[in-house]
Symmetry: C2
Subunit: 225 residues, 2 copies
DNA sequence: GCTCGGCGAGAGCGGTGCTCTCGTTCCGGT
DNA sequence: ACCGGAACGAGAGCACCGCTCTCGCCGAGC
């Protein structure tokens, strides 16, 4: 049973993060001002420090929330009953849609690191959610024998995290598959980032069609056909 | 014949950009402080405004210089006499090496856009240099008949810039090749960014070996074998 | 009922980008 | 040769930033 004090504290915390998210969407992460957040919530800047020890901690909160929202979008888009290549493109599309809808949050997650700020370990579980979805798709495809390629051993190349996300050794899953999954994962984000950060301006007319083709090519790269 | 005044102005401008680049390497773009630059050069902050109308203009200068430096590295790494897949991996390696050596400048070029700042048109030629190198490699490979795949028409998908960089229609070059080239370029960027921005920590043990494999996979994706 | 801890407000510190003014210095035309 | 004007550097000042400290308040637990 939370006391009244705890309740109002939780409410105020949520209100602060909501205002911070609004401010993030307006001015970006680097210019996120704790004072402006305080103004929007209607209290003195010093009072915010009762809830977040520093601006960086507020940023960490936003980062974790962002990873969770993106991960949730990816999970919601994945229908385990669908064929693998369809699951792949559905998840890719969901990631892109979320990025286009929340460009500043996406930039916070996958853009330049904020100088002087290093993400704490707390962010790792949330950050892994999209990777886990992709790993599940690949694992299912491999177990169903619908994953071509593979067969290469590259000891010492990958770390434990990759093996954990992409499943233990199983029929059809080896280091070559994991490497290609990682590559597809970073390529997907390269493609989304290029579009979002304006590097495709002038080169691509129809961004939707380009993305669809890119996802198909990357699916083929992984071994989904 | 430049007057003495013009000479000292050019010198001071160069000194300011040099100090700014040093500061950029230390604290990153978002924390780049014009006052600190002025301190390092040894003049009042207001005096710097005689040379750069605003902090953003100083940033633009750094961006153009960065694109030029990266483009130069890519051009230097490309040996037109070598086989295409070797040229591809050499240029990819040069891009990654430059990024690892100048992480903050790379983040400035390919990371989150600075909010409220939009790159002026002046940056486009410098930004295109790496793309042009990649386009030349693909064009040469296509003319030599060493590019597999292609054969797909996707009218209205790509813009003029892509056609310009990747050559007019030629035997072996069509929209499908250009799309894959763009995809390879953004995937390369995604791979480098993931490594640089820390998204591969825990998943990849041997970054050099991973990158080499990624480049090889991407080369195959383009159609180089 | 009283005390003590959480709380909000306000002032203050050193920093930022940017503007304005003021005295100087140098360049070009007469 | 000189003088007017343009370029220049310095300094003060404005509004903002993150963060700290102190102070008065108020509610929850002993």
């Amino acid at each position: 049973m939370p006391t009244a004090r705890e309740r109002v504290r939780a409410e105020l915390t949520a209100e602060i993060t909501a205002a911070a998210r609004r401010q993030l969407a307006e001015v970006g992460a680097a210019a996120l001002s704790l004072r402006a957040v305080a103004r929007e919530v209607g209290m003195a800047s010093s009072a915010v420090y009762r809830y977040f020890p520093s601006r960086d901690d507020l940023l960490t909160r936003l980062i974790i929330d962002g990873y969770d929202a993106l991960g949730e979008a990816a999970e919601a888009a994945d229908d385990p009953a669908a064929p693998p290549e369809q699951r792949w493109s559905a998840v890719c599309g969901a990631v892109r849609d979320w990025a286009l809808a929340h460009p500043h949050e996406y930039a916070l997650l996958y853009g330049s690191p904020v100088p002087g700020y290093s993400a704490p370990q707390d962010t790792v579980p949330a950050a892994s959610r999209v990777g886990i979805v992709l790993g599940r798709i690949l694992g299912d495809a491999a177990r169903a024998g619908r994953l071509s390629g593979g067969g290469v051993r590259v000891p010492g190349l990958l770390g434990d995290a990759a093996v954990e996300v992409l499943g233990q050794d199983a029929p059809g899953i080896d280091d070559a598959v994991r490497v290609r999954a990682l590559l597809a994962w970073s390529s997907l984000f390269g493609t989304v980032s290029f579009e979002l950060f304006g590097h495709l301006v002038g080169s691509v007319e129809d961004a939707d069609a380009y993305f669809a083709r890119a996802v198909a090519e990357l699916g083929a790269l992984i071994g989904l056909d």
